[in-house]
């Protein structure tokens, strides 16, 4: 085998290894460096053929009214938005505002406009923050579905750039 091909194959193995490490670090970073916030969550229970059982979560900030955005500007799918949050007296973080530019201060989440799949007039945008899937074994996922029927509390770690990682989901004691 030619030396060049050998080096190329070795580099390809290195590339795969580094990609996996990069993914691990990028996933882990908000958990290491972020600050914890709590959000109210509503569970939905799907199953992915490839990824297994998970509870799909929705939040108060998952659907944002179109009137919150500058008039006449239709946002594109995948467009990045920033949602500012403030804590209520129970320590649950709630929607405080939305902008297309990164806020200079305060707590905020970075989200992306998700596709609605339909053209025409819409009243709200669906937004995803990367904290919508909570993976669990089948029994645990079914248990979560029962526990969270009346709503849950998601513990989320948020980095300074607004990227969020879901840490834990539990039942909402107030409901």
């Amino acid at each position: 085998m030619k030396r060049k091909i050998l080096l190329g194959l070795a580099a390809a193995i290195g590339f795969q290894f580094l990609t996996l490490i990069g993914m691990y670090l990028s996933a882990q970073m908000p958990l290491w460096t972020g600050e914890a916030i709590r959000l109210e969550a509503i569970p939905v229970d799907p199953r992915s053929l490839f990824r297994g059982n998970y509870a799909r979560l929705e939040y108060e900030i998952s659907h944002l009214d179109i009137a919150l955005f500058p008039a006449g500007k239709r946002l594109r799918e995948g467009e990045v938005i920033y949602v500012a949050l403030t804590a209520d007296r129970r320590g649950i973080y709630r929607f405080a505002g939305v902008s297309l530019k990164k806020p200079q201060q305060g707590r905020f989440l970075r989200g992306r406009i998700a596709g609605s799949g339909f053209r025409g007039a819409i009243s709200s945008y669906r937004v995803r923050y990367g904290i919508e899937a909570y993976f669990a074994p089948k029994e645990k996922a079914l248990g979560l579905e029962t526990d969270l029927r009346k709503g849950g509390i998601a513990e989320v770690m948020v980095s300074k750039s607004g990227r969020a990682r879901l840490k834990h989901v539990s039942a909402n004691p107030a409901k």
Binding site: G8, T19, I21, Y24, F50, Y54, E77, R119, A136
Partner: protein
């Protein structure tokens, strides 16, 4: 009696293309001829070489072995991914993740060692398995960290990680793995409204493997499908209305580009058929058969009035870019056809496309749909007759049966869906019958002339 060759040569000195199964038969026959003393082993080897066949069929035996091993690895990979779906909570997440990363890297290193010691096929098989473990690791990381933001990114990194192995080893199996993953990524991205800009990288890599590596019909088909989808979806993004883009967001212009694309494919097949390489001739036969099937399917769809009404009613808002792309594809087709010495047939197809599109654009009246429908039906019947005659004349059974099938399907469809009224339908059937009987008469006349000569 119809011979069961899948293709025939137009030139006497040029070898006929054989289908894969008949290649094995030829090798077996050639061996028998050697044993009976009819020909020498060297002659048998030369005959087999002419058709790209291995006299001792070592290749086909090792191909069977490789396919079984490849499928075995595929199932090991699927088993791993399915197991991950069970979310083993009992095993600590760090152990799960590092265990899978270690498994990925060690499988790839073992594969590399096999390649180094000259066991190329075993190495490729293990790379295939290692790539599955790599994908499983990506899925596991997404699962452990509850990553649900943008799923296609994971599939993209999986496909990209497989790509260098395909290019370095020039293995069609590894290229097929990367290309299939890239296609999955392509469709997920498109369905979510994103444009997968790096997709051509995967297609070009597959083209490189096709060019430099061993022949693979599956990879050829993957390349053709991927290229067509990429072109059509790129135009869909360019022609989108609003800022948004959706799956299946197609316009009438896409159909014209698709037809031009198939004419280019047809010309490519003609060019490949004129090359001395048996692999090129194999590819040519595959491409021309699929181009022909597309043409018949298109004519079958256009034999109804509905599609013509839609075309006549369409907005046709993107004509300049449509004509631009069509001209580019047509120019390429003519260039290839000229190289292959088949300019007239490709030019005739392009002129037919130009005339049909111009007629629709000038008419734009839905009540004219029936005229176009009748014309399409006659084209379908004429194509069927041409295929039957060509099938018998050249001994290509596929053409013969495809021709008979298209004539019968047209007759059946028109019986259920009468054009105009019963009298109109009856007139059309009579004309069909006259065409068929006329073709048969002409055929008999040609045969008797050939006998006399």
């Amino acid at each position: 009696m119809v011979r069961i060759w899948s293709g025939a040569s137009s030139n006497p000195g040029e070898p006929m293309r054989l289908i894969r199964l008949l290649k094995n038969d030829l090798a077996r026959e050639a061996k028998a001829w050697v044993e009976e003393g009819l020909i020498s082993e060297a002659q048998a080897a030369r005959i087999c070489d002419r058709y790209g066949v291995d006299l001792h069929q070592d290749g086909s035996r090792s191909l069977g072995y490789r396919v079984l091993v490849g499928l075995g690895y595929l199932f090991i990979g699927l088993a791993m991914i399915t197991l991950l779906g069970a979310n083993w909570d009992e095993i600590p997440r760090a152990l799960r993740m590092w265990g899978l990363i270690l498994l990925t890297v060690s499988t790839q290193v073992i594969a590399l060692r096999h390649c180094l010691s000259g066991k190329h096929n075993a190495g490729v098989g293990l790379f295939l398995l290692g790539n599955f473990f790599y994908g499983a690791s990506i899925i596991l990381i997404a699962q452990i960290y509850h990553l649900g933001e943008h799923m296609p990114d994971g599939v993209f990194w999986w496909a990209l990680g497989c790509l260098p192995f395909a290019v370095m080893t020039k293995s069609p199996w590894l290229a097929l793995q990367a290309n299939t993953l890239a296609l999955i990524w392509f469709f997920i991205e498109i369905s979510l409204g994103y444009y997968p800009g790096l997709f051509p990288l995967f297609v070009l890599s597959s083209v490189y493997v096709l060019w430099k590596g061993p022949r693979s019909v599956l990879l050829l088909l993957a390349v053709l499908v991927s290229s067509g989808l990429w072109l059509e979806y790129s135009l869909a993004v360019l022609w989108r209305e609003d800022d948004q883009f959706f799956l299946f967001d197609f316009h009438a212009e896409h159909l014209v580009v698709a037809v031009a694309l198939f004419i280019l494919l047809f010309a490519t097949a003609q060019r490949l058929a004129s090359l001395p390489s048996s692999a090129a001739r194999d590819y040519a036969a595959i491409i021309s058969v699929w181009s022909l099937r597309f043409a018949l399917l298109l004519l079958l769809v256009l034999s109804f009035s509905g599609p013509w009404k839609d075309l006549l009613d369409a907005d046709w808002k993107h004509l300049p870019s449509m004509w631009g792309v069509t001209a580019l594809l047509g120019g390429g087709a003519l260039w290839l056809a000229e190289k292959a010495g088949r300019t007239s047939s490709v030019a005739a197809l392009l002129v037919a496309l130009l005339l049909a599109v111009s007629a629709v654009l000038l008419s734009r009246d839905q009540t004219h749909a029936v005229y176009y429908q009748v014309a399409a039906n006659f084209c379908l019947i004429a194509t069927g007759i041409w295929l039957v005659v060509r099938g018998i004349h050249s001994g290509i059974s596929h053409y013969f049966f495809l021709g008979v099938l298209s004539i019968l399907v047209t007759a059946l469809l028109r019986y259920f869906d009468l054009i105009g009224d019963y009298v109109g339908g009856a007139v059309m059937f009579i004309v069909f019958a006259a065409l068929l009987l006329g073709a048969a008469k002409y055929w008999k006349y040609q045969q008797s002339r050939e006998r006399l000569l």
